[in-house]
């Protein structure tokens, strides 16, 4: 048993509703995974000081190295979050304390304790790849979400490393792997992200590709043959049964991050699509339910930017353009602002999605980019671009890092991606700008997902409006 003893009161970072969560105090620490691109040293989880009054503001103040090289840490999540207050299955007297950190390449899962000193996290349990495959039926674990039955984990590959990818469950107190989640997967084969409309018993999953399509970089022939994900899926969360597939456009591929509305009464959300074969554009789609049936429609399209082939990596020269490559999106806890990371063009966009059918762009920040190389006020020209985005619970601060996934970094930034993390300040009425004092450079390592201490816009689900 890894878990700590039950508490007397619910963890103070659990909020019954998104409207209460936005009143949470500002975060003072971030947890960021970093990857060693040479796969010779172990990857790490670093702790970044976010307290602007602190002397070490914007610097790394803690670090825990994994136990093996080559894990390729990617996404990660908490053992428990606000969903512990949900009334059908309440278990609120536990702590948001452990980070579940999977290696996307190794399929190893680390359980990391962030207490008693949150700046000195420690590895308390390791689930080896063989055990993950044997017990879960899957490999290449990706997204982590704390939910009603335990911890839900998506995985790109089946136990033998091919397909189908899917979802498996972990016990949220012992961190033992329980087993595959699906009872009836219908036509679903590819996997990537998963999230839900918790009070509506609806699970959502998206599609990237099987391990052979991603682990050695983007496969151009597979892209031309439209083998990457082209739809998302709607499931019955309670009965674990596939309900509906929602295909995006004919030419669109790689349907990645799912961001359902936090308000449990709403039945819509946004999903980012990386690329269209037609014109290299990227897009954001809105899923919603009308009269009991789910539909999907494109609500944002971001065009490719024409470019001098001389400045482009080999793969892009023939196209004479930079694709935006929307790799991550994030929705503020109040469901008002959607952030869209364009990793190729080096831009983070902010949209007001008060009317989710008609997003209105309210902000843009350029940093990095395949051609632009936009600098921060504290840096020279940057490479990489806005990638994993995290928004504070009050919506006033936005953090992002610049590395996607090592083999893909090499294709789009072949000169060698240099890792960095920045912070933007967002205005309540819309608009945002980089914090001139926050620029964190990583030496030799590449940062990926950011999790904020106490929760953030993509960590918690709420059962009450």
């Amino acid at each position: 048993m890894v878990s700590s003893a039950p508490t007397i009161l619910p963890d103070p970072t659990f909020y019954p509703s998104p409207s209460q969560a936005v009143k949470a105090p500002p975060e003072t620490l971030a947890y960021v995974v970093t990857v060693d691109p040479t796969r010779t040293r172990p990857d790490a989880l670093v702790v970044v000081d976010l307290d602007s009054k602190s002397d070490s503001y914007g610097e790394t103040v803690g670090r825990v190295d994994m136990l093996h090289p080559g894990d390729e840490l990617h996404h990660f999540g908490w053992n428990a979050c606000s969903s512990a207050l949900c009334p059908a299955n309440p278990h609120p007297h536990m702590e948001r304390r452990y980070l579940i950190v999977p290696g996307l390449r190794s399929s190893r899962i680390y359980i990391i304790d962030t207490k008693p000193d949150p700046a000195k996290p420690k590895i308390v349990k390791v689930i080896e790849p063989e055990e993950v495959a044997r017990k879960s039926g899957y490999t290449r674990p990706h997204t982590i979400h704390c939910g009603p039955e335990g911890i839900y984990v998506t995985a790109l590959g089946s136990a033998d490393g091919t397909g189908p990818g899917g979802v498996f469950l972990m016990d949220h107190t012992t961190f033992d792997i329980i087993g595959p989640w699906e009872k009836d997967r219908g036509p679903q084969y590819l996997a990537y992200d998963a999230w839900w409309h918790l009070t509506q018993d609806i699970m959502l999953t998206s599609e990237w590709g099987t391990p052979d399509l991603v682990e050695n970089g983007l496969v151009p022939e597979a892209l031309m043959a439209k083998k990457y994900g082209r739809q998302m899926h709607v499931w019955d969360l309670r009965r674990r049964k596939h309900l509906q597939a929602l295909p995006v456009g004919e030419d669109d591929q790689m349907v990645l991050e799912l961001r359902p509305a936090h308000d449990p009464r709403k039945s819509y959300g946004f999903v980012g699509v990386v690329i269209s074969l037609k014109d290299l554009s990227a897009s954001v789609w809105l899923w919603n339910r009308t009269n009991g049936s789910w539909g999907i429609q494109k609500v944002i399209e971001i065009p490719a930017e024409p470019a001098d082939p001389e400045l482009l990596p080999p793969a892009l020269k023939p196209f004479k353009a930079v694709p935006p490559l929307v790799s991550d999106i994030d929705l503020s806890v109040d469901d008002r602002f959607l952030y869209v990371a364009c990793w190729g063009t080096g831009e983070l966009r902010q949209y007001d999605v008060t009317d989710p059918f008609k997003p209105r762009q309210t902000g843009s920040v350029h940093l990095g980019g395949i051609v632009r190389r936009t600098a921060h006020s504290k840096s020279g020209p940057l490479n990489g671009g806005p990638q994993m985005v995290e928004v504070s619970r009050d919506g006033r601060r936005v953090y992002f890092t610049n590395s996607l996934y090592v083999p893909w970094d090499e294709q789009f930034y072949p000169e060698g991606l240099k890792g960095w993390m920045v912070k933007l300040n967002a205005k309540p009425e819309g608009g945002m700008a980089p914090d001139p004092d926050f620029f964190l450079e990583f030496s030799g390592e590449r940062p990926h997902q950011v999790r904020l201490q106490g929760g953030d816009a993509s960590s918690d689900s709420y059962c009450f409006p």
Binding site: P6, A88, H93, F464
Partner: protein, 209 residues
């Protein structure tokens, strides 16, 4: 020791009913959640009936089983068995505080809510907690078991009424007036208290002999 006054069984079941009703995990929170999801108070009220029913079935089953056992088993033996069950269950709740039913789903109708409430009450040992009271009812060697059955039914009715009243009151007041912000400050971990209550009930059952 416990049978100091003839009223103690009735007072005890009413207090236990209130104790069960005030626990968010026993139903009022679910009722509030459904009301908020649909945005109307009538959804809160509609949920209370199946929630109360499920609790009554769970508790009633234990009372019925104890009553039936009294016909066949010597009182001393039954008392020891019941005490062992209570103490065993109380220890289990202490040692495995995280064990809870893994119910998924908030799209629930009357039948689902009744089942949910039955499962939650049973998993918490709500009916078992009443064992000392049931066994303390006047019934000597089965000769007045008809009276004891009626007594058991009365206990169940009173207990359910108390549970229902407290659950309903808390649900409506939280929905209408207080809001859910109080969960963060006031949702005291009742599990420990609950386990202690089971252990005490076990001891009381032994003691009655």
């Amino acid at each position: 020791m416990l049978s100091l006054t003839p009223d103690w069984p009735w007072v005890t079941v009413v207090l236990l009913g209130a104790f069960h009703g005030i626990n968010p995990a026993m139903g009022w929170l679910f009722a509030v959640g459904l009301g908020l999801q649909e945005g109307r108070r009538s959804a809160v009220l509609a949920a209370l009936v199946p929630l109360g029913l499920g609790h009554a079935v769970s508790v009633g089953a234990v009372i019925l089983a104890l009553d039936a056992a009294r016909l066949a088993v010597a009182p001393g033996v039954l008392r020891i068995v019941a005490a062992a069950a209570l103490i065993g269950f109380g220890l289990f709740r202490l040692i495995r505080p995280w064990a809870h039913p893994r119910w998924v789903g908030m799209q629930v109708g009357f039948r689902d809510l009744t089942l949910w409430s039955f499962l939650m009450s049973s998993a918490h040992g709500a009916g078992l907690m009443l064992a000392p009271v049931v066994l303390g009812l006047p019934s000597h060697h089965g000769e007045v078991h008809r009276g004891s059955f009626a007594g058991g039914l009365a206990l169940l009715g009173l207990h359910t009424l108390a549970m229902f009243a407290v659950m309903g009151l808390v649900a409506v007041v939280v929905y209408q007036v207080l809001g859910l912000g109080l969960l963060r400050r006031a949702w005291v971990n009742l599990d420990l208290l609950w386990a202690v209550a089971l252990l005490l009930a076990g001891v009381a059952t032994l003691w009655m002999g």
